[in-house]
């Protein structure tokens, strides 16, 4: 009796040992590229340190007090939130709508899904450059078409009010194919019998969508919302390529401002840049936490 227990325990311990060995490679990579930099940035945020790394001194929370009186930090935070609040619903909503239209495994639907997926595999930089060329008011194709159609030329990326919406649309255009693929896979997993039963009960297609499709794929939708939100809060490359944060800093996001303080504007204040990244880290952590509770709870409601 006891012998077998000991054997079992030993077996489990051995199993765990090899499990740790299997985790080791990815743990090493994660530590070097995620955990260590994360801790380092917490430490650096408490110091006065520039990129030359000379005369480093400990300054306590000075960088953080400076952060809260810096109008460009609040401006960047508002821009990031603005971007997130519009981009995430647009991308997920568009993907959800198309999922309903394309959730069949016919050749036509598969082809369309692959086509929509294409922008996602391209680099954001390349896409940013292509779109800023297309939208250029002086030599862009879109401006030319608008002119041919008798409209006034609109400078999408140069207008302070239009720049951010334009960046949002381009980002959603690039990303919705990925969300669509995830959602379509989830929809195809819903048992067909549920739909048949609903039909027998006399449910219309909208009711079927609302009461079967949505609850059936809710975990996937919430996954998409959370990951897209985190990605959106860290938005950098599209604005960096298409607008450089302008006009009038209206598209400058938090990550862009971190980059600007740390690597673009002398005295390359790494301490201050790290303080802003800690600030962003806290915002994203809180948002993720709230969102997870909220959307997971929403899922339970929908299930019930």
């Amino acid at each position: 009796m006891t012998e077998s227990k000991v054997k079992k325990r030993r077996y489990a311990a051995q199993n765990q040992k090899s499990a740790y060995l299997f985790i080791l490679p990815s743990m090493t990579i994660l530590s070097v590229f995620v955990f260590i930099p994360l801790i380092a940035s917490f430490v650096i945020s408490l110091t006065d340190m520039n990129i030359f790394m000379k005369d480093v001194s400990f300054v306590g929370v000075t960088n953080f007090t400076r952060l809260f009186s810096d109008s460009r930090v609040s401006n960047a935070t508002i821009n990031s939130l603005y971007f997130t609040l519009l981009e995430v619903p647009l991308q997920v909503g568009l993907a959800l709508f198309l999922t309903v239209c394309l959730a069949k495994n016919s050749r036509y639907c598969k082809m369309l899904r692959s086509i929509y997926y294409l922008p996602f595999v391209c680099s954001m930089t390349a896409i940013g450059i292509v779109w800023s060329m297309l939208l250029d008011p002086n030599m862009g194709l879109v401006a030319y078409w608008l002119k041919q159609a008798g409209f006034q030329t609109v400078s999408f990326l140069k207008d302070p009010d239009l720049a951010m919406p334009t960046v949002i649309v381009v980002t959603a255009w690039k990303g919705f194919g990925y969300t669509l693929t995830l959602l379509a896979a989830a929809v195809l997993n819903i048992p067909q019998s549920l739909y048949e039963a609903a039909q027998m009960d006399g449910a219309g297609s909208f009711q079927k969508f609302l009461h079967i499709t949505i609850p059936g794929i809710w975990p996937t939708i919430s996954f998409c919302i959370v990951t897209t939100t985190i990605g959106a809060m860290q938005m950098f490359d599209q604005a960096y390529v298409m607008t450089q944060g302008g006009p009038l800093n209206r598209t400058e996001t938090v990550v862009q401002y971190i980059y600007d303080r740390g690597f673009q504007t002398a005295p390359y204040d790494l301490g201050y840049a790290s303080a802003i990244s800690v600030y962003l880290f806290v915002i994203v952590a809180v948002m993720t936490f709230v969102l997870r509770r909220f959307v997971l709870k929403g899922g339970e409601d929908a299930d019930a």
Binding site: V32, D159, P160, G246
Partner: protein
């Protein structure tokens, strides 16, 4: 049993491969950019070689390989490469220069980290505005002994050009080129608009008047391109205003003269719409080369592009206001990062000496349209008869230094001046308010 062995072995192999992978990255330093380890690997054998044979190097003519970074990504970079290649082939000191061209942004990210980790190149060529911040962080070698070591005649170089490479009386760079902003004008567009194609505007009033005449939205044609991502010190100075005084750390923004200038600029942009709205410098360059721009203020690097596109253009000094005409000066210098070993430093001196010979300076000026600043070269009949170069030399006389050698210069530009001009030029704020806001921002920067 056998199976277990295999799994342990496999895991071990995986761990080791991951660890070595990370080890390489670690060696480059966390902040070092991705290709730093590579550079280091290339450099190390060369260094080791030089270390070992340092003593007999001059006697036996051992080869010295110099790493050289610069920011010449344009067509001038090709000409620079030709000159360097030619030097590699012809020099008798057995020096080989390996040149890396990268955009300025990238160089500014890589170089400080490379200097901090001892993997910096042997010498660098960049804009003189960078010298002061690097010196204040003790990252450049003092090369005040350059004239004595190489025997180059210091008095043959114009004083204002030399001044740009000095910080606190010490020399940190060997001058490579010098330039100011000029006014380019498209002679064909002038003729079409009924203006004298041989006469450029001389005053701010004329500039505004011509710009309006040259603007034709129907043809997508603009009188005067004014990109928003730059500063317009020439206009502030022309009316007697200024931004700051670097020698006393004083804020000079809040003045009547500046309000007047900015009102004029806003009227030009917002009401008269003589420039495409919110364009960047490179976009303005493209439009100028496409013949869509009547007038444009820029440095000598436009000349080759305009020639290649067959634009019929003229070059004039920047326009004058009530206080005269000025133009912001700039330039590039060869500098040596801190920590470059003595033998490599001397080899870099040799190349700098080669650059400062009249033959090379003449080739550079003639092929790129950069002004001449060697006194003996200015007497050269070929230079004096060159139409473009003589126009440029005339326009260069009004050069004025803007915060050069001031360690806060880049912060003043990015946090105060560029936002100020952008707000005024897009009409986001009336000049008086924008100036007040900028003045407060300036106080914060100067307080550091």
């Amino acid at each position: 049993m056998r199976k277990k062995w295999i799994s342990v072995l496999l895991s071990a192999v995986m761990c080791v491969s991951v660890l070595t992978g990370c080890g390489q990255n670690g060696a480059g330093g966390q902040t070092a950019p991705s290709d730093a380890p590579e550079t280091m690997q290339e450099q190390q054998p060369a260094d080791a070689q030089a270390d070992g044979q340092d003593a007999e190097k001059t006697a036996s003519g051992e080869k010295i390989t110099l790493q050289f970074w610069n920011v010449f990504t344009g067509s001038d970079g090709d000409i620079l490469r030709e000159i360097v290649d030619n030097y590699n082939k012809t020099n008798t000191d057995n020096i080989e220069i390996q040149m890396d061209i990268m955009p300025n942004d990238q160089l500014q990210q890589k170089l400080p980290a490379a200097i901090a980790t001892g993997t910096a190149p042997d010498f660098v060529l960049f804009g003189v505005e960078n010298i002061a911040p690097y010196v204040s962080n003790d990252s450049l070698e003092d090369i005040s002994d350059f004239w004595d070591v190489t025997g180059v005649d210091k008095s043959n170089i114009l004083e204002n050009v030399l001044e740009l490479s000095h910080v606190d009386g010490k020399l940190y760079g060997a001058p490579m080129q010098y330039n100011v902003s000029y006014l380019y004008w498209n002679k064909d567009l002038f003729a079409e608009a009924g203006l004298d194609p041989e006469k450029a505007p001389a005053t701010m009033d004329e500039l505004a008047e011509y710009a309006v005449k040259l603007t034709d939205p129907e043809k997508n044609q603009y009188g005067l391109a004014l990109p928003t991502s730059v500063t317009y010190m020439q206009f502030l100075w022309a009316n007697g205003g200024d931004a700051d005084d670097p020698s006393t750390n004083t804020n000079l923004l809040d003045s009547e003269e500046n309000v007047k200038t900015l009102e004029w600029l806003q009227d030009l942009m917002v009401n008269k719409k003589v420039s495409p709205a919110s364009i960047t410098g490179p976009e303005a360059d493209t439009m100028l080369q496409a013949g869509q721009i009547g007038m444009y203020m820029s440095g000598p690097w436009q000349i080759n592009g305009l020639r290649a596109q067959g634009i019929n253009f003229g070059i004039a000094p920047c326009v004058a206001g009530s206080a005269g005409a000025f133009s912001p000066a700039g330039g590039c210098s060869y500098v040596i990062p801190k920590g470059t070993e003595e033998s490599h430093k001397l080899a870099a001196y040799k190349f700098m000496q080669y650059w400062l010979t009249d033959d090379i300076l003449k080739e550079w000026s003639q092929r790129n349209g950069f002004p001449v600043w060697s006194k003996t070269l200015m007497e050269d009949p070929e230079i004096q008869n060159d139409e473009v170069l003589s126009a440029i030399s005339k326009a260069t006389e009004i050069g004025r230094s803007y915060n050069l050698g001031y360690s806060l210069a880049s912060q003043i530009d990015n946090d105060v001046m560029i936002p100020l001009f952008e707000k005024v030029m897009t009409g986001a704020a009336v000049p008086e308010d924008a100036l007040k806001e900028a003045s407060e921002a300036m106080d914060r920067v100067l307080a550091q």
